[in-house]
């Protein structure tokens, strides 16, 4: 939920607390999770947070569905990596800590260039043109090896130049803190954008472009300028990526990465400012952890996405905010039992389906390892009917019970919403 826009766009005490907590969390996080893997993941989260937020400037705030956002972050990465090489070669005299900004200006430049064509249109055509541009740039990677380095990509070393205050950016933790600063600053910048007149106009262009034209604004120019700003932040994310990984390969501009931004921004929730942050954290978690647990993780992600679009198009953020509203009216306690029941039955059903999916994957990929696999502590044999029937039965029972629980929960949910409506009405009526 956006805080009520006060007249001067100034930050209220509540905003300061939220931002303070966010900054403190980023500061403290590497102390709590101090392993190498954790710090790497935290750095990646910072990068994807900036990337997903910049993507949501288009999708959530402007209603522009882009299939090519990785073009701007990816080209930002490439230019940043070239800059880093130039610093190493002594031809460029800027501090390493400014590399993400170099990426940002690269993203801005390419957004000015490509955005001129893409933002001519809105809606479905916009989506198709971004897809075309993404394919175009993706194909360029192999055609212009001077700039893109072909299949191998371009690598550079970030430990170059003079150390400032003993900071060399050699250890990951130093890079993490630099990226954290960029993440906070960019997030604050993008939040500030939503409160500028331009940010508000962008929302208007999303909701009613015809009316915006009547008032005298050019919808195309509003889209174009916003697209450029989004391109800048995407480029910053790309520069952060270059600094963190010290390499840029064709994958960073590819359609798959663009798709991932879209996927996770939507999962997190495009209608709220903080939604993409949740999405970005999930992106890194699923990439690093989920892909370790199961080979079928892309399938699970795709199914989760489909269910999300169908049943909760506002993403996780909207689910949180709905429950937040209920909690504010003190009704959440009555729903907890229902939630527990839903979670339990859903988990049972999911367990059955997942067992079948894992067995099929096992047949497809590891058949030579023998017919048995362990799934969640259960020994499954892909050659016996018992395993298949058992998994199927578990899925059936789980989802059957889930449906029953869901019906009861839906009733209860409606009741609670009714009570809240009544409470609001009672509050608004003059006493």
């Amino acid at each position: 939920m956006k805080p009520p826009a006060n007249r001067y766009g100034a930050l209220g005490p509540r905003d300061l607390i939220v931002w303070g907590i966010a900054a403190a969390a980023m500061l403290v996080a590497p102390w709590l999770f101090s392993s190498g893997l954790a710090v790497t993941m935290l750095s990646q989260m910072g990068i994807t947070i900036v990337a997903c937020l910049s993507f949501n400037m288009l999708l959530g705030q402007g209603g522009m569905l882009s299939f090519g956002h990785a073009v701007y972050s990816g080209l930002g990465s490439y230019v940043a990596i070239h800059a880093l090489k130039a610093i190493g070669g002594g031809t460029l005299a800027i501090p390493v800590s400014l590399i993400p900004l170099v990426g940002g200006f690269a993203g801005l430049f390419f957004a000015v260039l490509f955005g001129f064509v893409t933002t001519k249109k809105a809606g479905t055509t916009f989506a198709m043109i971004t897809l075309g541009i993404s394919e175009l740039v993706g194909a360029m990677v192999l055609m212009v090896p001077e700039f893109f380095g072909g299949e191998a990509g371009i690598a550079a070393n970030r430990v170059v130049g003079k150390a400032v205050l003993g900071i060399t950016f050699g250890p990951q933790i130093q890079v993490y803190y630099l990226l954290a600063v960029y993440t906070i600053v960019c997030t604050a910048g993008m939040y500030a954008f939503t409160r500028t007149p331009l940010g508000r106009m962008l929302n208007a262009v999303r909701d009613n472009p015809e009316r915006v034209e009547f008032i005298g604004y050019s919808t195309q120019r509003v889209r174009y300028i916003s697209f450029i700003i989004a391109g800048f932040f995407a480029g910053v994310a790309g520069g952060m990526y270059a600094l963190n990984f010290e390499i840029a390969t064709g994958e960073v501009v590819g359609a798959f990465r663009s798709g991932l931004y879209l996927f996770f921004t939507f999962l997190g929730g495009a209608t709220f400012f903080f939604g993409p942050i949740i999405g970005a954290v999930l992106l890194v978690l699923s990439f690093v952890l989920l892909s370790e647990i199961t080979k079928a993780w892309l399938l699970y992600l795709g199914l989760a996405f489909l269910l999300m679009v169908m049943f909760a198009p506002g993403g996780i953020a909207s689910l949180i905010m709905m429950n937040w509203r209920i909690a504010k009216f003190g009704k959440l306690r009555g729903l907890l039992a229902g939630y527990a029941l839903l979670a339990l039955t859903g988990a049972v059903g999911f367990f059955g389906v997942a067992a079948m999916i894992e067995m099929i994957y096992h047949l497809q990929l590891n058949a030579d390892l023998g017919p048995t696999l362990r799934f969640a502590g259960v020994e499954l044999n892909v050659q016996t009917a018992a395993s298949w029937l058992g998994a199927f039965a578990v899925a059936l029972v789980g989802f059957g019970l889930f449906e029953l629980a869901r019906r009861r929960f839906a009733l209860r949910w409606g009741e609670v919403q009714g009570q809240i409506e009544a409470a609001i009405r009672a509050r608004e009526e003059p006493a």
Binding site: K121, A122, T124, M128, L136, L298
Partner: protein
């Protein structure tokens, strides 16, 4: 000359295949306003289903059963998923088809594996449909079927003979696409259901008021569009390669076709399909670059410039991106598309 003829026919057959895909996409788009991102995935499913059927009962039953299976899948998707998100607006509709394309890709890899499967065309279609024999003495003539080896070589070294075969699968592809095109056109203009579809395009409320079940018409059109994509998949899969990346390879090209032709214009999609099919086919065969072009007009480049990979790019190498360049140019100079009427 024979190079031109054969390349032209190859280009036209590829263009017609693209039209089998883009016609369904365009119909669905102009009816429901949904650009079906998973359309190329249905194409892929068609190929894989036909492959599985062909292994059991042969190619010909598969040619008819697979599109039907895909049509049922498409209709079910419309009925149970797409219709549910219709009330949320166009972006979620596009997103759900995007998610579907993702899931279909994973499922196909799960069921049929990650590498290409061997899906050959039937015995009848394996040879060439006809062969162009160009002899420097007798001139050019056409020969049905394969030309005997004796005809393609000459004992006399002064006589140059070139045989250019045209594959039967390509001919079959053109035949099916044309039959489908005529059938589609007749159905849309001459039958009752066609009239209902046409009127539901522009005045859905009115059609509903007259007692037609418009959501069901939507479902049927979506299913039929998916079925056409499936049919194209059977032919495309057996002519080219049946592999998990086949959807991605053709997917973005048909979006280009739909935008270039003008969103929602069936005639535009037809012209754009043929145009892109021909352009891409010719481009692949042309081995010229900026360097060779400059050299032919007598400009010699310095060693640095002659070594630049940008100038050395041949037309064949840039062939994959030509459709997208075409898209960008069209959008700059004619934003409606070739035959489009919508300006949004």
């Amino acid at each position: 000359m024979e190079f031109f003829t054969i390349s032209m026919l190859n280009g036209l057959s590829y263009g017609l295949l693209l039209f089998m895909l883009s016609s369904g996409l365009t119909l669905i788009f102009s009816m429901m306003g949904v650009l079906n991102f998973a359309h190329a995935s249905f194409y892929m499913v068609g190929a894989y289903v036909a492959y599985s059927i062909a292994r059991v009962v042969g190619f010909w039953p598969g040619l008819f059963i697979a599109p039907f299976v895909v049509a049922v899948l498409g209709a079910a998707f419309e009925r149970y998923c797409l219709r549910r998100v219709h009330k949320f607006g166009h972006v979620p509709e596009l997103l759900i088809t995007f998610g579907l394309s993702f899931v279909i890709l994973e499922l196909v890899q799960l069921i049929w594996g990650r590498i290409a499967v061997d899906f050959p065309p039937p015995e009848v279609l394996r040879g060439p449909a006809f062969t162009l024999v160009n002899s420097s003495v007798d001139g050019m003539h056409l020969l049905w079927g394969a030309a005997p080896a004796a005809m393609c070589s000459s004992a006399d070294a002064a006589v140059r003979i070139v045989c250019s075969p045209f594959p039967a699968t390509r001919g079959f592809m053109m035949f099916i696409a044309l039959v489908m095109l005529v059938a589609l056109w007749l159905m849309l203009t001459r039958t009752r259901i066609g009239l209902v579809i046409q009127s539901a395009l522009t005045h859905p409320e009115m059609v509903e008021a007259l007692g037609h079940n418009v959501p069901r018409v939507f479902m049927l059109v979506f299913g039929a569009g998916a079925g056409l994509a499936g049919l194209a998949g059977v032919i495309g899969g057996s002519t080219f390669v049946t592999e998990p990346s086949m959807a991605g390879a053709v997917g973005s090209v048909i979006f280009v076709v739909v935008v270039v032709g003008g969103m929602g214009s069936l005639a535009g999609a037809f012209v754009a399909s043929l145009l892109i099919g021909v352009i891409q086919t010719f481009a692949v065969a042309l081995d010229y670059s900026v360097v060779t072009a400059l050299r032919s007009i007598g400009v010699t480049l310095g060693p640095a410039a002659a070594d630049s990979s940008f100038l050395k790019l041949t037309i064949a190498q840039v062939a994959p991106i030509l459709p997208y360049l075409f898209l960008v140019l069209i959008l700059i100079f004619r934003p409606k598309g070739l035959m489009g009427t919508r300006e949004d």
